[in-house]
Amino acid sequence: MKKRTPRVLPGFGLTMGTTITGLSLFVLIPLAVLVLRGTTMNWQDFVSAAFSPRALASYKLTFFTALAAGLGNVVIGVLVAWSLTRYRFPGRRLLDGIVDLPFALPTAVAGISLTALYAKNGWIGSLLAPLGIRIAFTPVGISLAMLFVGMPFVIRAVQPVLEDFDTSLEEAAKSLGASGLTTFRKIIFPTLLPAILTGFTLSLARGLGEYGSVIFIAGNMPFKTEVTSLLIVTQLEEFDYSGATAIALVMLGASFLLLFALNLLQRIAFKGGNGS
């Protein structure tokens, strides 16, 4: 009988064991329980809970605010990443360090400080109120909070690409007569696209699931300013576990779809654009 040769590096057995155990305990089993709970419900109840008018309103609200935030992050993110990578100006390093603030700051703190800023009597809210612009307790406020927490995704995704970008390509284009805009459109942008898409999708995913930074500024009125994650919490507080599970499964499905779409997009973008 041939004895199996041990692996060259040690630790396979141990690390496989701990990793599988850890994953099972903390990821697989919880997910399984959630899905199981959902399947034990009868179909009618599931649909009526998952697609109730209130739930649908929350999906619409959550999706569109997250989408707006994602798009906003793309614009702002590329802009900021560009300035931070390409230009030198006083305070650049400080700003670069602060980009990660939304990652590091607890969502509750973000929530209350954004609310304090944009409420009617807040520093910014008070400036906008006379113009009739309300931010807090409206979908705009929700989008704003999602914008905040999602901003580092795009910036940090685009920065490395810009940093590694071969400027000789740009110079070649310019020497051949291309204008700045054309150069950007045809040479720089295609290279950035995969990174932008990644950042956008991550920002979107984050926005969809966001709770802490949103609930303070949102107002939380059912059908009007109630995000899906809050709806789940409300169901739980009313002990409607089935209802909460149904909506949570919808959310889970959406995140998986998003992840899948992200993978697909990246593959297409890589195949299509990157000959540079």
């Binding site: 630790g11 396979f12 700051l105």
Partner: protein, 291 residues
């Protein structure tokens, strides 16, 4: 001898190029955006925290409920961070130093807590351990409360912070490559000796940063903990939950006072990241400077 007067041609003012305009516009916009979205929220926290003066600030922080919240948060951190560090080291070693079939599946699973909503995370634990589930009912019969009690909070915190150390370690260990470990093995090293003497010194900055991120997230986790908590002040409120309570009761100054603690820690995290990045870059430059 006569002096000759030399006329120099007048310096022509170069036209302001569109590039220069663009540069100014972009930089200004960036500064405005960053100030608006990043710096102002920071300022708001501290201004509001100290609005009532130093006395009110310390009173808010030394309130029994605040202290209880700090204690609970500390417990959650002290359990979840070391555990996730060990698990993270193991997972990173497995993925980067061994051929694992289904590596991408493994990575997706590891990333799960990072990608799903914290509310859903919390819900999962309620479903497993809540009094309405088989397991939960059985545990309660035996006097063990998980949900709406401290163990649940620890579990939820461990779950959401699970990926942080791994995600930092994997790119570091991938880019280092396994040559040094293989060299060590060929010279006779094995097991912990190999890890301690060769791997650990090489990954220490990435590991440290992962631990810091993990800790920051553990301290600040809100959604998942909120679901499993029960919100019993003085007993099952972590610092972020306590902030929510204070804010909703219009104790704004106190809420911001406690929030300033977390903000301070967030700034420490950012500074730590800078330091780690600088160490890493210094190392990279040294490695590539000599052929």
């Amino acid at each position: 001898m006569s002096t000759r007067v030399i006329h120099l041609p007048k310096l022509e003012r170069t036209a302001i190029t569109s590039e220069q305009v663009l540069r100014v516009v972009l930089i200004t916009t960036t500064v405005i955006v960053m100030t608006l979205f990043f710096i102002m929220p920071l300022v708001v926290v501290f201004v509001n925290a100290f609005r009532g003066g130093l006395g009110a600030y310390t009173a808010a922080l030394s309130h029994p409920h605040t202290l209880a919240a700090i204690k609970l948060t500390a417990i959650a951190v002290l359990v979840s961070v070391p555990l996730n560090t060990l698990l993270g080291l193991g997972a990173a070693w497995l993925v980067t130093r061994h051929k694992v079939p289904g590596r991408s599946l493994l990575l997706t699973l590891i990333d799960m807590p990072f990608t799903i909503s914290p509310i859903v995370s919390g819900l999962m634990f309620v479903l497993i351990f809540g009094s309405h589930s088989l397991l939960g009912a059985w545990l309660i019969e035996h006097g063990i409360r998980i949900v709406f009690a401290v163990p649940g909070i620890i579990l939820a915190t461990t779950f959401v912070t699970f990926p942080f150390v791994v995600r930092e370690l994997i790119p570091v260990m991938d880019s280092l490559g396994s040559d040094e470990e293989l060299a060590g093995v060929s010279l006779g090293a094995w097991g912990w000796t190999l890890f301690r003497k060769i791997t650990l010194p090489n990954i220490r900055w990435g590991l440290l940063y992962g631990i810091i991120l993990c800790t920051a997230r553990a301290i600040g986790e809100f959604g998942a903990v909120s679901v499993v908590s029960g919100h019993i002040r003085g007993r099952t409120n972590t610092i972020p939950l306590h902030i929510e309570v204070l804010f909703n009761e219009y104790q704004t100054t106190a809420a911001f006072a406690v929030a300033s603690l977390l903000t301070f820690f967030a700034l420490v995290t950012l500074i730590a990241k800078e330091i780690v990045m600088r160490q890493v870059h210094r190392k990279n430059d040294q490695d590539s400077s000599v052929s």
